[in-house]
């Protein structure tokens, strides 16, 4: 094993160890508060009020493959989709989930089914509530647009692996004046969202979305705490590197 490989493995092991320690600490002693993210602040309230109004939440998980580097964003979207499905499962209009990647669509359907099974209402599970709306980037967008502009949809959550095509969905949601929470793992998609959406999620914020919907989950809180610590460590390391370069040490 080379030195850089050992460093990478060590980084992941320390991260995992830190998550475990924070998980135990949070469970025993305290609940950490999160910093405010405007794009997520009102999501839970709006999801609950849309359910009370007899409206639907639409979640779109992007088109990037689960086997690619952007797969983690789809997993973050799936976590959020499971939570929203749980909140809206017994309403008149359960959440609809669209995606552009077949494995992601199967996982979203699977998660949706698990929600109903855990509630002992498996007979209410709708196999057509989660589906792959298209295979290519724009066919997926065209298929998902029907859900975005559906008059029954009150909240649109666009979270996962999108490219610049997310601009079409975000703009359609904006025209319909639904509450829209959107974020993507691609930099091109984020720059498009910055122009099109009101409160886009940028950078690592998409991986924190489910924690804001269900803040009492200790695993998520522990993961966020470790991300914050490592981010500050990286900032200090980068600044130290710059200082060392200026001083002529590096």
């Amino acid at each position: 094993m080379s030195r850089i490989d050992a460093l990478g493995l060590g980084f992941i092991l320390i991260f995992a160890g830190g998550m475990l320690i924070f998980h135990l600490l949070i469970r025993k002693w305290t609940v950490f508060s999160f910093r405010s993210i405007t794009g997520l602040a009102r999501l839970r309230q709006r999801v609950l009020s849309s359910i009370e109004d007899g409206k639907r939440v639409h979640i779109s998980l992007g088109k990037h493959s689960l086997l690619s580097q952007e797969g983690a964003a789809a997993l973050a979207g799936l976590r959020l989709a499971d939570e929203i499905s749980r909140l809206s499962a017994l309403s008149d209009h359960p959440a609809h989930i669209t995606s552009g990647d077949a494995p992601v669509s199967i996982l979203s359907r699977d998660g949706n089914k698990a929600v109903y099974r855990n509630m002992d209402h498996e007979e209410r599970f709708d196999p057509c509530a989660a589906y792959m709306s298209g295979v290519t980037a724009f066919s997926y967008v065209a298929g998902s647009l029907a859900e975005v502009v559906d008059p029954q949809t009150a909240v649109n959550v666009l979270l996962g692996g999108f490219g610049s095509e997310i601009g079409l969905l975000a703009d359609a949601a904006d025209q319909r004046q639904t509450l829209t929470t959107c974020g993507t793992s691609s930099l091109a998609g984020q720059s498009v969202l910055y122009a099109v959406a009101d409160q886009p999620l940028l950078g690592e914020e998409i991986y924190a979305a489910d924690a804001y919907l269900q803040p009492q989950t200790t695993q998520t809180s522990a993961a966020l705490r470790m991300q914050d610590i490592f981010r500050w460590m990286l900032v200090v390391l980068i600044l130290a590197g710059i200082a060392a370069r200026f001083a002529g040490v590096l």
């Binding site: 689960l66 086997l67 199967i106 099974r117 589906y131 998409i206 695993q219």
Partner: protein, 208 residues
């Protein structure tokens, strides 16, 4: 029965995930072989799920057609197009003239027109940005967009001298690169946290 299947599927996913992860760091031959085998299986499974996804899409739109509302016509068009394309490809192969005609004269123009719509939406959104979000960052964003565009595209055959030669390169290689790296570092931490949660079984999106 499904209740006791969940721990088993979690154990399998965790085990496979750990082997694939370790394969990135430990160059032992047997781990690399095992990792390659698991990744091949994953690719084959992903291919099979595409078929399931398409049948699911047919079921969703079949139900919309059956419900006879205003969306029924577009759903019917989708089903006819899907079955028709599949039929043409099954009958005449993927590289046949008919299949290429569908690709070149229907699929590509349709997707290109959506791309054109996106370009218009982006110009409109950029113009509206200061109206909807009056912040310093919006101004910086817009000024940068204008500089990068005017530096990248020639005006009547000539580039703007200083903007094209110096400013554009500096923006791309210094502030834009720094911002992109900052975002990527944050996302990398999020990806690691998501991966660890999967490997430790805290998140298992496969228990339906």
């Amino acid at each position: 029965m499904t209740r006791w299947i969940t721990p088993i599927s979690t154990a399998i996913a965790t085990g496979v995930g750990i082997i694939v992860l370790v394969g990135y760091f430990v160059p032992a031959a047997w781990i690399l072989d095992l990792r390659a085998l698991f990744l091949r299986w994953a690719v084959i499974l992903a291919g099979l799920t595409l078929l399931v996804g398409i049948f699911n899409l047919l079921a969703v739109h079949g139900r919309k057609v059956y419900s006879l509302n205003k969306e029924s016509w577009s759903s019917l068009a989708l089903i006819i197009a899907l079955v028709g394309t599949a039929g043409v490809i099954a009958w005449q192969q993927t590289h046949s003239a008919a299949a290429l005609w569908i690709l070149n004269w229907i699929l590509i123009p349709a997707e290109s027109s959506l791309m054109a719509v996106l370009a218009v939406i982006l110009i409109y959104a950029a113009a509206r940005l200061l109206y909807r979000r009056k912040t310093v960052f919006s101004v910086i964003f817009l000024v940068t967009v204008v500089i990068v565009l005017s530096g990248s595209v020639p005006f009547w055959g000539t580039f703007i001298p200083f903007v094209h030669d110096r400013l554009l390169g500096w923006i791309i290689s210094v502030p834009a690169m720094a911002g992109a790296r900052g975002l990527l570092l944050g996302m990398a931490l999020g990806i690691i946290a998501t991966g660890i949660r999967l490997l430790t079984g805290n998140q298992h999106p496969y228990d339906g």
